[in-house]
Symmetry: C2
Subunit: 428 residues, 2 copies
């Protein structure tokens, strides 16, 4: 437990620079400096939202039940048993642990939520389990509360990324053409999208409060995020109005793009978005003449994007033969000078091979000494503001800042903290 | 072209309700009412950002080169040829079409970007092609400019979702255990995440401007978004510090979850996050005794989450037999009363079957009459504010509001517009 104290009426940053005026904020990467957010969350979506806000400068306090939230031991884990997911999702937050099963514990959390000064009064939650922490109850104490709630389904029912994946159609479109089963997306993309929608909703509501003094409730359902994105990408309209598309392996839909294997067992993804990409790809592979002859023979103009897609099997076959006869190094030498969009497929092991050289060249990643995990390359914020970027900060341990927060944010005395400890409301 | 006119000094909403005071905003779902954003974009990430802001109440003007941006004909398409992607990603925006190859055209766009009153001066762009539309150049005219730039890679190099997918490891973890090739994610999840990060970065920068008067440049690279998310989920640390994980089909990593087929050919996804889920699943399938006996025989406590994951093959096998002997209706009847997280795998065709009954029950979706597409169920915003939600609005046609915007936002006269038309700077 750090010995630093904070005045309950200020809304300084975790680094202790309280009372610095908003206008004098020195680091452009921290525009949310001064904002204070209580996060009651677990797993991916709501923790990602809190972390994104913390990376932009907000003071984010993650509150968990005694012993930590359900995700405290979630895989992947370091050899020590420390959750790499929990550590990864809580970078730069403070952590408080209270007995949420007790009225006294929930009262403390309610006090935290409604406190924090003019830039406080903000909560992100993924649980509706506690009737005394709802918007309806808390806004009585703080009418300008910004209350951001994630649910699984709109009606409040539970759903998680993998059940939403099953519900929303993509699993039947992913994977090899001849596969007969749905293929789950290993990336919890709906959780990620929901976490970022929560962030946008929170910032929009807090902006409204800045301009009008009015608080707001923001509710987002994980399933709605998936349906909204599927709809905006055209999948729902396509299925309603035309023929739903079929599984198509690693092909891009509607344009020429697919993966190819090289003679030495590497794989590449090639994406052709423009006529220039196409002509350069043919020139790089020496196939300009062959494709031209084929087009003439078939009566097809392969300069047309749609035609390249319709004839992707034959065009892909020609290119596959070329890549199959060349090593990765040869393919790279041919493609690199050309204006062709391509990438080598990498595993996570490839990314960290040779001292993680690939990652080390990107200033997004920095060495981070994370207690319980060890020193490793960790990402900061992908948002670069005025050329500055928030580097990765260590995540706390579960409950690391409980007493500090109770004293500094709620103004509790040492005797009051001792009493809470004695009652088991906070960890003994 | 609508005949309504707008005063160049107001920042009203596209519905014409200019000059309404911010405090008197009637619709809680429109907290960004009054904000004006110019969007120079194509494909998915930056258009999604603009649309998200438009759904929250901002006046978003999409600017495209003559004939429309590269994505104007992107698949999927309606039978008329209208792009369902373009229509889906531009709902509720206004659309302007100018000759970006001409200095005169770019000057008009620069005028639009630096205009818009105190809540204007905001641009989202996914192109660095135009040197006269960069942050450095435009901030000279408007020092409080908020300039939001998406790039492919951090160094400005081009990358798209599918090449970033190849770069970042997930393709080798997705798909059946025995597959030998990478599996692309059909959902452009990195584009979606990048679009929402752009939105959060823009709102954070505009908030900073509200509080300090200072503008800011926000830069986000698509590749950085993918690396940051992979890192925060623990994949990079796992690969650096332990053994990178292996492909595991439709299994969840580190907890019990996988898909099962029913006797009548349906598939379900089951996710067990808690002991209660597990016990309910066993009770629902009548396997409590069998699993208990198996645990005793193997000396394993299946009440432990980790052990359920380690022994997922045998436990999955037992459950697969049960599901294989029961129809979907029987499985549903058994699972529905239990506290088990599960979902049936659906195709997009399933989602729109029977008059799209499944979608119709969700107030997220409403009938939308989209010119060139027809009437269909389309999603509004997944962000619900104070119980209110932005319904889907029709997308414009490419360039639909060019003259309206030039007159109302730049105050051009009819003669000036005619001159631009004559010069071919706007469509004749």
């Amino acid at each position: 437990m750090s010995g630093r104290t904070r005045n309950a009426t200020t809304t300084g940053r975790p680094d202790g620079s309280a009372r610095r005026s908003e206008a004098a904020s020195l680091d452009a990467s921290q525009p949310l400096h001064g904002m204070r957010i209580i996060e009651l969350s677990s797993y991916v979506a709501s923790p990602l939202s809190g972390m994104t806000l913390a990376q932009l400068g907000a003071d984010v306090i993650r509150v968990e039940p005694l012993g930590g939230a359900q995700d405290r031991t979630r895989w992947p884990r370091a050899r020590s048993g420390t959750s790499l997911l929990w550590s990864g999702m809580n970078k730069g937050k403070r952590a408080v642990e209270v007995d949420l099963a007790s009225k006294r514990g929930r009262d403390l959390v309610a006090d935290l939520i409604v406190g924090g000064g003019p830039r406080g009064g903000i909560v992100i939650s993924n649980s509706e389990r506690y009737p005394d922490l709802t918007y309806e109850v808390l806004r009585i104490r703080r009418p300008d509360l910004v209350h951001v709630q994630l649910t699984g389904r709109r009606d409040g029912a539970t759903a998680v990324d993998y059940t939403v994946q099953a519900t929303t159609g993509f699993a039947w479109l992913t994977g090899a053409q001849d596969s007969t089963q749905p293929v789950n997306n290993v990336l919890p993309a709906w959780d990620v999208a929901a976490g970022l929608y929560l962030t946008a909703g929170l910032l929009a509501a807090e902006r409204h409060r800045l301009l009008t003094g009015e608080g707001q409730q923001v509710r987002i359902a994980l399933e709605d995020v998936a349906i909204a994105i599927a709809g905006s990408l055209g999948y729902l309209a396509e299925a309603q109005l035309t023929t739903p598309r079929r599984r198509d392996g690693n092909h891009l839909y509607g344009t020429f793009g697919r993966d190819f294997g090289t003679a030495d067992g590497e794989r590449l993804m090639i994406v052709v978005l423009t006529l220039r990409h196409w002509r350069d790809l043919l020139a790089a592979t020496g196939l300009t003449g062959a494709v031209s002859a084929l087009g003439t023979a078939l009566g097809v103009d392969f300069d047309d994007d749609d035609e390249r897609y319709r004839h992707r099997a034959v065009l892909g076959g020609l290119l596959a033969e070329w890549f199959g006869r060349h090593t990765f190094a040869e393919a790279e030498a041919a493609l690199s000078p050309a204006r062709v969009l391509w990438s080598r497929y990498r595993t996570f092991a490839d990314l960290v091979a040779d001292g993680a050289g690939t990652l080390r060249s990107n200033p997004l990643l920095r060495e981070l000494d994370q207690p319980g995990v060890g020193t490793h390359l960790a990402p900061g914020s992908p948002v670069v503001m005025d050329g500055r970027q928030s580097p990765p900060k260590a995540s706390p341990q579960v409950g690391q800042h409980t007493e500090e927060v109770l004293r500094a944010e709620l103004g509790l005395s040492e005797a009051e903290v001792r009493e809470l400890r004695g009652l088991g409301v906070i960890r003994r």
